[in-house]
Structures are given as structure tokens and as C-alpha cells.
């Protein structure tokens, strides 16, 4: 593994809680690594298992379903 390894993480965040939480982290200027890409969903319950598998097969190093 390279020294500068940066994982690519796909995060599915619920519009009502975790997405709002990520917004609040911004308002509070909490710094974290820029390796996650957040996809807004209306509920973490809408994330089909296929979507997760799909993301991993296509090259995501991790998938976070947050809700």
C-alpha cells in the first residue's frame, strides 16, 4: 500500500439526520479528511443492498450507510 493511501468512501446519509449532522459538522467547522463522498438519501432505509455491492465492486474502499 502506498504511503499516501487515501480510501474512497461512499456515504449514504439520511436527509433528516446524518446529512443534517454532516451540515452541522460544517457549521461547527469540525475538520475531517476529505476522503468521503456523501450521497443524500431520503432515509437510510432506501439504500438497496445492490447499491452497496455495486459501489464496492466499482471501486469504493468503503460504504457508509448512515441514518
Amino acid at each position: 500500500m502506498e504511503d499516501q493511501y487515501e480510501p474512497r468512501i461512499i456515504a449514504f446519509c439520511c436527509n433528516w439526520c446524518s446529512y443534517a449532522g454532516a451540515d452541522l459538522a460544517g457549521v461547527s467547522r469540525i475538520q475531517y479528511p476529505p476522503s468521503a463522498r456523501i450521497i443524500r438519501v431520503m432515509c437510510s432505509g432506501m439504500v438497496h443492498p445492490n447499491l452497496v455491492i455495486d459501489a464496492l465492486t466499482k471501486g469504493a474502499d468503503g460504504v457508509l450507510v448512515c441514518g
Binding site: A22, V27, S28, R37, I38, V41, G45, L51, K58
Partner: protein, 1374 residues
Amino acid sequence: MDLEKCTGCGECAKVCPVNVSNYFNVGLDKAQAVFRPYSQAIPSAYAITKLDKAPCTITCPAHINVQGYIQLIKSGKNADAVKLIMERVPLPGTLGRICPHPCEEKCRRQEVDEPLAISGLKRFAADQVNIEDLPVPLVALREEKIAIIGSGPAGLTCAYHLAQRGYRPTIFEALEKPGGMLRVGIPEYRLPREVLAKEIDNILRLGVELKTNTALGRDFTLDGLFNQGYKAIFLGIGCHQGRALGIPGEDAEGVMQGVEFLRRHNLGQNLQVGKKIAVIGGGNVALDVACAARRYGATVTIVYRRSREEMPAHAWEIDQGLCEGVKILYQVAPLEVFNDGGRVTGLLCQQMDLAERDSSGRRRPIPIAGAEFELPVDMVVAAIGQEASLDGLKDAGITFSRLGTIETDEVTYATSSPGVFAGGDAHTGPWIAIEAMGGGIEAAESIDRYLRGVDMYEGRVRGIAARQRWREIPKDEEGRPREIMPTLPPEISSICFSEIAQGYSETQALSEASRCLNCEVCSECMQCLDVCQAGAIDHGQKEEKLTLNVGSVVLAPGFQTFDPSHLTAYGYGKYPNVFTSLEFERILSPGGPFHGHVQRRSDGKEPKKIGWIHCVGMRSHREGEHPYCSNFCCMAALKQAIVAREHIGPDLDMALFFIDLRTPRKDFEKYCVKIKDQGARLIRSRVHTVVPKGSNGDLEVRYISETGEVRDEIFDAVVLSVGMVVPPDVVELAERLEIPLSPNNFVEASCFEPTSTFREGIFSCGAFNGPKDIPQSVMEGSAAAAAATRALAAARGTMLKEKVFPPEKDLTDVPPRVGVFVCNCGLNIGGVADVPAIVEYAQGIGDVAYSQANLFTCSQDAQAQMVEMIKQHDLNRVVVAACSPSTHAPIFQDMLRGAGLNKYLFEMANIRNQCTWVHQNEPMLATEKCKDLVNMAVAKARLLTPLEYIIVDVNRKALVIGGGAAGSTAALGLADQGYEVHLVERKDRLGGNALKLHTTWRGGLVKPRLDALLRKVLNHEKIIIHYNAIVDGVTGVVGNFTSKLTTGEEINHGIVVIAIGGEPYRPEGEYLYKQNPNVLLSLDLDKKILEKSERLKTAQAAAFIQCVGSRSPERPYCNKVCCSHSVENAIKLKVLNPEMDVYVLYRDMRTYGERELLYQRAREMGIVFIRFRRLDPPLVEEDGGRIKITVKDQVLERPVSLHVDLLTLATAIIPHHNAPLAELYKIPLNAEGFFTEAHAKIKPVEASTEGIFMAGLCHYPKPMQESVAEALACASRANTILSRDFLQLESIISNPVDENCDGCAFCVDACPFAAITLIEYMKEGQVKKTVEVNPIQCKGCGSCMATCPKQGIYVAGFTPAQLSAQVEAALGLI
């Protein structure tokens, strides 16, 4: 702050130098003067705290913004500090050296230690800045010629301000050098010549002309100036003429005036300085002469007729003189100057005594007979005062005062001669430079107004209105004496003319500046203006008085917590680890001062053992405390203990010291049980004192247990559960509005109008109506809205304006053309990420037809411009890369509709909150992430399709189920709003449980008020009553329900209010209930009281047993009503027959709020209260015709036997008939069978199914007043639906795909909103199963989509294809 413009970016707070305690975190941490109240605050904008002008600025005669420049110096911005000073005065370096700083005398820092060294700091800033580098303001030139006579501080300041207004004034100076007394009266060791010269040059640089050696009277006259075309004249001629001594011999050679001595010295003119000099006088001139003469090598003696105490010279000047070897003879007056051949040889002096004080407040010198002596001197300098030389002003039409000064208007500085103004010493008499400058400023303003022909007085007053609303000095402000400015040692300073004071070093200046207490909070240093790109800050905003014409007023002024500082027993404010519950609440909050980490104030360590002390300041008759109970605090303490344990860990030792545990609200009792399971120790006790233990900050709590033992326990921290108090300003408000308050300052509302004050049209709610928690306050807020709008129903909606959008474009078969708008958000995005690079990148993404950057995309002008771009580039999908869709999507969606696009053709890339704000230190990576987020948004946007707006009509009728007090109130509330109401009652009459109640807890009779309510309901033309009816069938959803009644009727309605009441638990087989006729339930006793039953009068003893069937494992809830009800009835019995023995057997006495006073009164009347434990209940037996009760008294710890004739059981209130309605309307029930609200705090009367509301006992047990308030709240909430013609629903909902759906119905079970139904229909001759979605019930959560194995259902706007495209874009695959 302009809230429309502020984007909440926070750049202002970064530069604000003022650091004050953070109000929101109750002073536990610091915030800037410009601040965002808290992170989730709405609107997401900043605010500025401004109090009254600081005492320094008020005191300064030139009103320099002292706090402002001190803060700038503190921030290292010396040039800005100098600019701020020079907004008022042109000579910062000069003033910083010679100003006697009256401001420092008023500095509030001296309440802590010593005043701030304001003058020294001013000098520091001026010394750091080359004044020539400051920019010259660009102003339009003005033609009018102005003459300034005199180049002293007054004349220079006047000229400076006129020059800044575009005038080009000419200064006429009689002497050869400009500067007036600054130049010729002050020696260079106090004010170096080059400092003054440079600052005067700077004034000339602005376009001021200077003519020296041109004296008024000698070289020109005022008339002459007017004839030469000068339009206005300022007289700043100063006081340069010394007063004569008036003693024999003063004509001798060697006698000189002090001002002349200094003038000759300062101008380098011929000056014969003697060897032995007597200086007569005690002012600054005397000291300056003395010190200057020392430098010429003379022996100097000051002769002064009073004592040092009376000397007018500044103390520091006297000290300096003494250090340099000047001798001072106090209480000595000159009598005669001796001479020899005309040359001074000596001074005959007279020793003086001091008698009583004269009119100047100084002691009057009187000669001591015979005490005369001669001082051998060769020079005598007189320095006993100066006056203006007014010779040149005679016959100029100018009036003079009795003291020989020029008289002016006190505001405008205009003299009696038109066009002539005056200021400085010639106007005030000899005084300080800063006063002269103040005069110069005002005169310049007047001259400008005079020449422009505008009102000289408008908006001007003398001085600043000296209100004193200043920042409180923090109690913990550490004493820190002022920095001592280095000076030349006297042995050196007295032999040379080098500057004595050396000025502060940078370290000293920064340290000194940080001592400022920021009295005004905002220092108006204006730094925020420079960084606010949105232009949202306006320091000129003023308090405005508005007059609003309204039909009703609702008062919701809230409360403040009790301040326990004066209660010495608890040591709050003295011991750092004693907190108030409000402080602790903030400490527990993730948005609090320590980000949710619990820590002690003394050492920042996490406490492992915390004690909570309940009822601090409450339930007490002591002075400074309150007799009532605050209702919410027991529960708040329990909650804090549980949350603290979540933060600190399961090992946290929690002890709660309480008197009665009062958790009467729905589900609170369960919480109480839960915390015991978590190991909290609930200690029934009275706390005696809290004292420090050891030196590490630990605290010892001494308390008295229930059984009277004194115990001690040591804690890491102690939290005081402080109660609610009505703030004094709210009491004042009530007085102004003539609203009577209870002795504890709460509104005494009636039971049937719980939110009405005694003044018609004024309503109140929340803690002002009595202490209460959040759910009840929120509920009461809605209730007050219902009550307040009742009379205004006709005006509803008359001020609304409807928004009209153009028709939407048809996009069938039109390929996507995406527009990308990237926001800079001022510096919030653009300051971190490379916005132009993102715009360029976006242009390269497929289907992107247009891309641009905006400074603020959400601004009005940007919106308009985007509509243009959409039209111009024929865009049909829009991506905004900016902040969060949660806050801003609706704004942009409206913009899309305005451009003729469907609002669902929009997507946001959250590049601020989720990128630049959280990767502030990684601009490169942040830019890359922004690009990815834009790519993801475009990937989704190109797959977006227009969605149909779902609109349903609203049936504007209401159904109210239950005709008790709550149901009737709700029905009346809705009918008064103009809606048709169907009131369904199971029985054949209205009134419910209320029919059985005698009085309310405040003692008001229920019956007449209930009758009045029911009469209104019965006679209301909009209310249709269905008696003997039960709802037994329901279809439809919010806006369009159809309910069937057992009477066969069908009612169509838009909403439903359920208020079907409850009933008392009947404890068959317990406590002789139904076995002995003298054992009653509470309501039975009410009935007996109502009937004035004989049995009540004959009974010798009566008892009440509380919590029968409640607060038990089967019914883990409290009734909330019975303690007050029983105590109230106990009092009634005692009043009826004072000889009767009355006992109340209870577990916790829950007379919350002002009901506590009932409990107090009952005890005073001799009613006996005996506490028992749940597991050790009273034993009730029949004994010779009486009832024998045996109970273990918890205080005595032994059984007690009572014989009574009457026993009342306060039994649980249980729901009745809730279950069938729960089934029909799909409302969840809690374990005890009560209806569950959508959210305990924010939706207290709404069911989770929209359009259904609940009030009264069917929701949870409560007193009638609260049931009635809930009923009003239901009416208010229902009105938000019924007042609309239609409901527009969210289109992001599930859509079945018939060809993929095989009817497996997995989704039906997965749907949390019961929105999906399985249906069958005939397709191509076969039965086809599929699902159908109810668009009103579906919330778009997509649980169905994730459950479906065959892609048979999807959520519009979040289709699998769209989500998948976002994933691919995120991974860089598209």
C-alpha cells in the same frame, strides 16, 4: 446586521477583537461581540451586542472611540487604531503624550484594580505609524473661504475637520511657529517638537493653508477677513497672557510671566534664566517652568499658598518636579519682590494657614501673623493663571463672559457675531488640549452647516447621552495592575531636554490593551465591515420604535433561572465546582462550551461523582427564595444524571438530593424508574451545606436524611437544580399592560381560559402562566394562538399574497442541458477552494451547457441573473454548487419555477458545509472534492425528470370525538374560526368528567364555568352534536376523512380531534373499596362536597390515601392531579369542620407549581401528612364502625394507627375506549393504553398520522386546566390544515412499476406509514397483482425500494439509476 444579507459565514467573528462571556453558554466560555447565538440558530445569521457608549468615550471631550482603538491595538492593528483616533482628532501622538486623560478617571477597570493606561496606549499606536503614510481622503472641493485664527489644538482640529469635508481653510497664527500652547507652552521633554511638527504637517497635507506671524488686531481684523471674501471665521486664539502677581516690586528686572518663560524657551528666543528662581503658583505652568529651569541648572523653589492636596497641577507632574530636585514651599504666599538697583534679589514670603473651604471647595489660605521670611532669589516667575488677549476682538460684535472669555452657543460654538465661531482656551478659559479639540470638532461641523445653509441644531446635543447600560464586570476578572511606562531617571532627565516618558514596548502595549473590560461590548472598531463581503453589517442601525396595529397580543416572555449566588449554604460562585443546572445543561450539550465533555471548572477534570441538589431557591419561605415549586426541575435533574452517565460512563456515581420527587408528566415516572436501574441514588433529604473538602476542588455535601440523621458525602462536582423565576422586566411589562399577577408574579389564568389574562385581547402562555416544562409550554403556545385568533377569524388570510409562476416547459424528448452555478459564498467557499477551476471543470462535464460562478448565489440579484441565464442558454436542469439543500433548496426551486422549469429538475452540490468548511486547511483536496461533488450532482441532474405536483383539496369540516370539557372546548374553538364542527358524544349529554368536579385547584367553582361553555357549544350554529354516537368506521386521510357513526350517519371532514377522556381506576377488593360506604374515590368526595353532604360535617376524622393503583409496576405513571386534588379537599374538610382530624397518606407530595402553596396552607391548618413506601402500603380495616388505618411512618420509622370516619382513595386515571379509535385512525397507544403524540416536545397534541389531534385524559392524566389548553392547542393546529383550500404534498414519493411488480407484498410490510396496499386487477384476461401507493401517506423514505427484489417500486427523485450514477461519478467512472 441585515438578516436578509448575512450568510452566517463567520468572517466577522474571526476579526472581532472583543471577547466577552458567551451568553448562550451562560458565561462558561467566550464569544466575540459579533456572534452567532448558537450553531443551530435560525436564521443562520450573526448579531452584534452593543451597549451604551463606554465611560471613557463619554468622558473624553472629543468623544474619541477609546474602546475601539484599544481593541485594535490589542489586535496589533496600530494603523487602524490611529485611523480610528484620527476620525476625531488630528494629533494622536501629541495627545498620547500630553493629554491629562480625564477618560482614565472614569475607566471602570479601577473597580478591579487600576484604570487602563489609555493615553499611553494612544501614544504607542501613534508611534508605530508613520502618519504621512495614511491616505488622504478624496472629497469634492468646496469653494468657500474659511479663516481659522490660531493654530493651537482648537484651530488645528477645526481646520482638519473642515479639510476633510472639502474646504481649504487658512490658519492665521500670530507666532512664528504653529501649534499654539502645544508648541509654546509645553517643553520638549514632555512633547518632542518633531512629533507635533509631523502631525501639523499632516494637517497641512490635507490642503490647509498656514500663515504664521500674522496676528489678529496687529495684521488684520475680522471685518477685513470678511471683506476679503472669507465666509466663516473660527477663533481659537487661546490664553497666552499671564496674570500679574499684584505685589510690590514685580516690575523689577528678573520677574517674568510663566507663559512668557515657556514661550521664549520653546521658540528659542532670548531667555535669561537666573541661578536661584522662585516660581509662584501651583499649576502645570508653574511645574513646567520649574522643571525647565532645572534643566538650565537653576535652583528652583515653587511657592504655593495652599497645600499639595489643593495644587491644580497633575500629581505626576508634581512628582516629576520633586524627583528632579524642585523644592516646593507649601502654604507660602509672596508679599514683595526685593530688588537691588532694579534687579531681583529676593522674595518676601508669608507663611499661611488654611481655614475653612471656600466656594471653589479648596481651603482658604490665611496669613499667620509674624511668620514672614525672605527667599534669596535672582529671578521670580509668576504662574498664577492666564487669560485671553481680546484686544483684537473689540468692536467685532462679539460678547465676552465675566471671566474674559468668548461666549458661544453651547451646542454650535457660534459667537454672537454671525459667521464667527470660537473654541479652545479663549472660549473655556485655560484648560486642556483635548477640550479645545472637542470645540474644534463641533465648530467645524457648525461652519459646514452654516455654509451649506442647513439647520445648525438638528440631531445635535451637547455631549453623549450618558446612559449606563454597560457590560457587567466579570466576577472572575483577575486583578492585573497597569503597565508602568519606562521613563528617564530623574538624575538624567533633569539635566537634558530629552523626552522623559519612553513609551510602551509592544509586549507592554498588548498586555495593557488586553486589560480593557469592553464596557460597550462592540467597540465599533469597524474591522468586521472590511471582511463582510455580503455587506450585511450596518453599525448605524438604531433602536426603532414601531407602532403595530393588532387585534390581539400574546405574551410569551419566558423565565429566568433562580440565581443562587446569595445562598451561602451552597457556595455557588465561591467554589468553582458548584454549578447551576443551567450551566450543567450547557456543559452536557455537544454545542456547549466543552463540546459535550463534562469537566470541572477548577481543573478541567472529568467528575466521577456528581451530586444534584433539588429545589434550590424554591419551596422556601426564606428571604430571597420562592415558596412555589418549579415543576420541571426534578425531571431535568434526572435527565442530566442520565445524560452525564452517557458522557462519562457507567461508573459515574450519581446522587440526587430531593425533598419530593416530582415527575408527574406522561412517561416521566418511567424515566424515574429507569434511572434507579442505572444506579442513581435518590436520597430523600434536606441539604444543609456544601463546603470544600481538601484543596483539589472536591466538595462535601452535608445533609439531613429523612429520619433526621446528619450525614456527609464528598463529591467531585455539585449541581444546583435552580428553579424558574419571572424576570423583573416581565413584571414591569405586566404592570404596564395592567395585567394582575399572582404574589409569585405568574399570570393567574382561569381553568376554562388557560391562556387568557384578565385583560381582554391579551393572552399569555408558557412559564409566565406558571412554571412548566417544554411540552406543556409548546402546547400552551398553540392554545394561546387559538385563543388569540378567535376574535380575528374574519381577518384570517386577508393579508396573504399568492405567488404566480409561469407555465412549465414541456421537456418531452428534449436532451438534458445542465446549468452549473458555483457559489463563492463570499470567502466561505472561494476562500478555500479554487472556484474558477471548479467552474471550468463543470464546463467539461457532459450535458453541461453553461457554468458560472456567483459571489452569493442566494442573493436576490444572483437569482434574477440565473433566471436570465436559464432562458438564454435554454437550460433544463440546474445544479447549484453551494451550501446545504436543507436550508437553500427551496429558494432555488422557486427560482426554477420562476424560469418555467419544474422544481424537481434541480440538484445541489453541498460544497460549503460538507467541503470547504470541513477541509479549511486542505485547499487542493477541497477543490478536488468540490469537483467530484459537482460531477455527482450533474450525474444525477441529467437523469432528473419533471414530477407532477400532488395537490389535494381540503374538506374544511372538523370532527371532534368526545363532549367533555376538552372536546367541547376544541369544538367551540374550531367553530369560532368558522368551520363546521361535528361533535360526537357517546352519552346523551355533554360535560364528561368535569360534571363531577367541584372546584379547580385555585378554588374557582367548576359548574358555572362549565355550564357557560356548554351553553355556547349547544347554541353555536356551526356545531352539530351527535349524541349517543360512537365512531365505528373511518376511511381517507388528512383533508378528506369519512367517519361512520354507530347511528348510521357518515361525516366527511378534514381533521379529527379526539378527546374521549378517561375514568378512575376502581380498586375493587383494596382498602375496603365497595365494602365500606365510607370509603370513597376522589370524584365521589367532590360530589359529596357539592351536595353539602351531612356525613362530611359529622365525621370526626378523615384520611386520604394517594397513588392507589398508580406509580406501580402495572401502571407506571402519575396522575398529576391527585396530590393537589386531595390537599384541596382536605382543606375543604378542615374548613367545614376545624375540629376534624385530617390525614393525607402519600408517597411523594406532588403539588407542583403554585399548587405548593396549597400544601403549605394545609400543613399550617394542621392537616397531617404521613409518607409511606410503595412496598409498605397502609393497612385498612373496619374497627367498631370506624375505619382503622395502620401505616409505617417513614420519619418515625414505626407503624402508626389512625381511626377515621371517611377514607378517600386517590386512584389512577385509566383510559377508556381508546383502543377501538386507535385501530380506526391508526394512532399508536403506549403500554398503558394512552394515545401517543407524534413528538413529546414539538408535536404534543398531534398524532403521527397527519390530521389527527388529541386532548385531555385520553392522551395522559392531567388536570382540567391542561386538558382545556390542549383542546385549544388542537383547534389551533387543526386550523393550519383547515384554513387551506388545498394541500400541496411532496412529490418525492414511491411509484410502483407495474410491469416489474409481481405482487410479493414485501414492500407492504416494510412501509412504516402504511401507505402501500396490495391490489389485484384483470390484465390481459388474467388476475395481476400489484401495489398501490397512497400519495398522502407516503413520506418517500424508500424502505419499499430497498426491500423490493425486482425493481418494482422506486422513489421519484432518488431512483436506483440516479443513485447509481452518483456512485459512479463519485468514483470517477463518469
